[in-house]
């Protein structure tokens, strides 16, 4: 019986969460379907004018992706908290922040990545051209992991609280604003032929900063939540 290393432990956590997600496919599908429905509602609400839709498209897809990410957050730690496996994670010899990073990665693979994959289809509904679609994918690919990481802090803080869902939205949505601005901005800038490099670089910088800081804050919040 050898001791396990940090990388070992992190891959175990990721593999465990992916396996559970695979056995609970309905959970994964709900946030994806929410995303599709929310985006499809907008043309019904604002009319089907192609020019208007093309202008609003990037923002609508991004706002819906952000809300879908937020809805999925409640599941990030809730079941681990309920069945006691969260205590095991906290008591692991490995640093909790790294295990949190692994959990968030698994969560993003099952909730964020599907959104990124389906987003171009929704972009087509809004008449975005192929270049804009490409940038949409790139911006979501850089932006949604940041959303999952920031959201983890809120999910940990509201763990086990009554009415946690609405509170989670209040805590997390203001923090999502920079990602939204640069994510939707990247697509809009491409549509206006301005180039999206600056936007994407900033999204990348936000992601790097969040990777460093968010798992630490989430780990702290988890320790507070299980006291």
């Amino acid at each position: 019986m050898n001791n396990t290393s940090l990388i070992d432990c992190m891959t175990t956590v990721i593999a465990r969460d992916l396996r559970i997600a695979l056995r609970r496919r309905a959970d994964v599908m709900t946030s994806l379907i929410f995303f599709v429905i929310a985006v499809s509602l907008f043309p019904l609400g604002i009319g089907a004018d192609p020019v208007l839709l093309r202008t609003l498209g990037p923002g609508v897809v991004w706002v819906a992706a952000l809300l879908a990410c937020m809805l999925a957050l409640a599941r990030l730690f809730a079941s681990d908290h309920a069945d006691g496996t969260l205590e095991q994670l906290v008591l692991s010899p490995q640093p909790l922040s790294m295990l949190v990073l692994a959990k968030t990665a698994a969560h993003w693979l099952t909730t964020g990545l599907p959104l990124v994959i389906i987003a171009p289809v929704l972009g087509l509904q809004f008449g975005l051209d192929s270049e804009a679609l490409l940038i949409l994918i790139a911006s979501l690919l850089l932006g949604t992991p940041t959303l999952s990481l920031i959201g983890g802090i809120g999910a940990a803080l509201t763990l086990g609280l009554p009415g946690g869902g609405a509170l989670l939205a209040l805590l997390v949505l203001p923090l999502y604003i920079p990602v939204l601005i640069f994510g939707a901005g990247a697509v809009e800038a491409t549509a206006a032929a301005l180039g999206a490099t600056a936007h994407l670089s900033i999204l990348g910088a936000l992601l790097l900063g969040t990777i460093v800081f968010a798992p630490w804050a989430t780990a702290l919040a988890l320790k507070i939540a299980i006291e």
């Binding site: 175990t12 465990r16 396996r19 056995r23 069945d83 006691g84 496996t85 205590e87 010899p93």
Partner: protein
């Protein structure tokens, strides 16, 4: 060794206990007793570092457990009153994953052997969500069988929901662990006689 100095526990507005002192050496059984709500679980959670004491300190080899962090946790096995099993995973998967996270690498054969010890060999491919309460507890207890290298065991109500044979088996394992120089802290409602080189009874809420 684990020592407690002047521990105090406050939950909400109530002071559950204060001025608690003890020292666990190799071979020590810390038997925590008390009525419901007297702070037994809180004390065990404090000893793991899950709960910050309102006052006082806990030291592992003369270092505060918070500071000893990784070193302390790699000497510890905690079995809470929740089993820590994922309903979606089967018994063997659960056992291997939870030990892996605790820092103990086990292969399939070892996991099967431990489940065999627990009497769950036949059910090892069944999702834990479909097992009975007692069977789930036995899956959780199978972790002990593979954690004998960990000197400190902290067990919250290990015998709950177990049948007579499982209680005996678990008790024998605990006795062996103590005889081999391990340390065990446990709470229990049942009268399960455990022979240990040293027994420290702690009565809470008295």
């Amino acid at each position: 060794m684990l020592s407690a100095n002047d521990l105090e526990c406050v939950r909400g507005e109530r002071r559950l206990f204060s001025g608690l002192n003890f020292a666990m050496q190799p071979g020590t059984l810390l038997a925590v007793r008390g009525v419901n709500g007297s702070g037994k679980t809180s004390l065990l959670r404090m000893m793991c570092g899950l709960l910050t004491p309102a006052a006082g300190t806990l030291n592992w080899n003369d270092r505060e457990i918070g500071k000893a962090g990784e070193e302390f946790r790699s000497n510890l096995l905690y079995l809470g009153h929740l089993n820590g099993l994922k309903d979606e995973l089967n018994a063997a998967e659960n056992l291997r994953l939870s030990l892996h996270i605790a820092g103990i690498a086990v292969d399939e054969a070892q996991a099967v052997a431990a489940l065999d010890w627990s009497g769950l060999r036949e059910r090892r491919h069944q999702p834990c969500g479909t097992l009975s309460q007692g069977q789930r507890r036995r899956v959780a207890l199978a972790r002990l069988k593979l954690s004998q290298s960990r000197p400190l065991w902290i067990l919250d109500e290990p015998f709950t929901a177990l049948d007579v044979a499982s209680v005996e088996r678990t008790r024998d394992l605990i006795v062996d662990h103590l005889a081999g120089g391990g340390m065990v802290a446990l709470t229990t409602h049942q009268e399960v006689p455990i022979t240990a080189p040293t027994t420290l009874p702690i009565e809470l809420g008295a």
